[in-house]
Symmetry: C2
Subunit: 414 residues, 2 copies
Amino acid sequence: MEDLVILKNKYEKIKSENKKFDMSRGKPAPAQLDTVESLLGMVTKGEECILPSGVDCRNYGGIDGLPQIKSLFAEILGMETDEIIISGNSSLNIMFDTVARAMLFGTVEGEKPWMNSGKISFLCPVPGYDRHFAICEAFGINMINVPYKADGPDMDLIEKAVAEDESIKGIWCVPKYSNPTGITYSDEVVRRFAALKPKATDFRVFWDNAYVVHDLYDGGEKLLSVFDEAKKQGNEDLFYIFASTSKISYAGSGISAFASSKKNIDYALTKIKYQTIGPDKINQLRHAKLYPDINAVMEQMERHAEIIRPKFDAVLSAFEKELSGIEGLWWSKPKGGYFISLNLPHGKAKKVVALSKEAGLVLTPAGASFPYGIDPEDTNIRIAPTYPTLPELEQALELLCTVVKMVCSEGYED
Amino acid sequence: MEDLVILKNKYEKIKSENKKFDMSRGKPAPAQLDTVESLLGMVTKGEECILPSGVDCRNYGGIDGLPQIKSLFAEILGMETDEIIISGNSSLNIMFDTVARAMLFGTVEGEKPWMNSGKISFLCPVPGYDRHFAICEAFGINMINVPYKADGPDMDLIEKAVAEDESIKGIWCVPKYSNPTGITYSDEVVRRFAALKPKATDFRVFWDNAYVVHDLYDGGEKLLSVFDEAKKQGNEDLFYIFASTSKISYAGSGISAFASSKKNIDYALTKIKYQTIGPDKINQLRHAKLYPDINAVMEQMERHAEIIRPKFDAVLSAFEKELSGIEGLWWSKPKGGYFISLNLPHGKAKKVVALSKEAGLVLTPAGASFPYGIDPEDTNIRIAPTYPTLPELEQALELLCTVVKMVCSEGYED
């Protein structure tokens, strides 16, 4: 590694160039969005909105979504169409509403509203998705960190906690290409989730399958169906499953899916019917026409991968070249998803994020991937390489690696 | 009026023809939806999604909506852009969420969640919109009927109730072409709303301006701005105002607006930010391009009126011709909106709806326009003439008038 003085000089030089880079969020790049252009013109005539069934997509109704798009998500998730509700442009919105419904009305008929149930806790595998944790914060739900192992969250801890503590009502999971660890849960982890025996009868697993088809390399990683496994044990009511096209079609104008047992879906509809007359069916129709089956989706995902893959490769090779050998530092090597997780020696993450920002590179705030924004060891940085162009990314990586090396140098002082 | 025997025979004859008519909901007719066709093709190229400001409508973000469409609704509602949030396809969804937020978090910082406030009541001007009342039912909110006068709900009663009863946290209003009475609140009624002095500090008026531009006849009725009036008294925090394009563009694929004081809007955004990263901006852009200003909206509304007006005229002239002179029977003569309110002699509404249904005409269920579905005097039927074609409507009216005359005949027995 270069001498600290050389690193400091390099940092100051880059800083003086006043460039701006944003790697803070898992946003698709404009080039990715360009590959979806045909979605926009997929429905341009009124008559196309009238389905053979007689349904007029322009008018009210159809609270659970168009059959065509339910079929598509059934194929993607390996579930039945009557286990799925298709909604608007945001799976986060469905997740928030699902927690809100449990708070207000309880998880099913006969269960107490969580709001009247005293202390409520969620298990939070960390590092995880900041917006999941933010929902808990909004509702004043107590969050309990659960560390990751190589193949998923620590199941010993989870099994014990849910079996013993009735206040634990939920757990947030991103089971495939997890945000930000990139981990896909192993078959054993999935089976142990499917077999959970929680003390709270209204415990639910919030299974955010955000990256279900988001492979970067041929074949991708296989995630066992937690729902099939749970069904074998009669445990399917425990699972709330979420997915969306936010990173398939458009981040702002996609569609989202909520999947669960027929019992949970039917109960959800008894409340959703007060909330809306139905979702935007024309946008669902656009998607159904552009993606008639999962093969069309996988072709779309390959177009995304062609753009994203070189960016992941650039990060991994820069880290390999620049950061190898720094003691206590390691990073994830994901096969899909949107993030690389960089783990620094203890107490270094905030400093790296702050110095990067001073020199023009906005990273996800250190700690954001932890409940309450607190990374207890101040080690984790979420790297989101998709949004910048490849040349921008390479410059940003030069800056990032310089900062990391500088901060990790012997003799470096704040 | 014809002899009862003749009416009965006529009814049986129509019934035997096995026709089907639907006048149950305020749905736009396909012919109306056809007039909006150009919306579909308004944005077909990726580059059109990138605004001069740099905002890419295809990507995440913009939680309060596109500036262009905020400006449009500001013009429609006579409010400021920072008093408005633009959301997805359903103002009902915003209304539900607004009640849910008050239940969960309270109306503003420092107020108790309604869910922890003991008994909660809403005033409900009747007859009114069934989906408003259904939201209260969903949340277990106690509903108190308030009768309509000729120029709006009974303000003496409302002023007294909100001043005395701290459990009253809200009131549902459709101030223009009210569903189903067709009444537009008079200036005096609006001013009295603006000057309300509720005992509950977290009382709110849910001002559903669903028919704000929905005139059927030249000029239309003028609704005074309750928000301007309230501002004069420093009372603007009392008002939650809702509007949408559901009956301007597409019922299923429009956009919706939530407007209120800056204080209320800012507070709502502190919660909405947990719920979504942003609305479907491409659909907002389609609307902004098709309707660059209120004039474009008014031209659209004239196209709707050309289709709807003859249907309202058909109902009114059938009622005039067939039902005049029946004692205790009267109907509204609205200048806009989607409904005509038919008021029968006491105890006759359910019977008329049931017999109509038996003969193939589906009307809004009797009682639906009242809290808990109970019309205390069983008099009101909501007539929704927009969906059928004119020839269908004329046949449906023949059936309806026959049933009404039959049921109101001296000597008629169930």
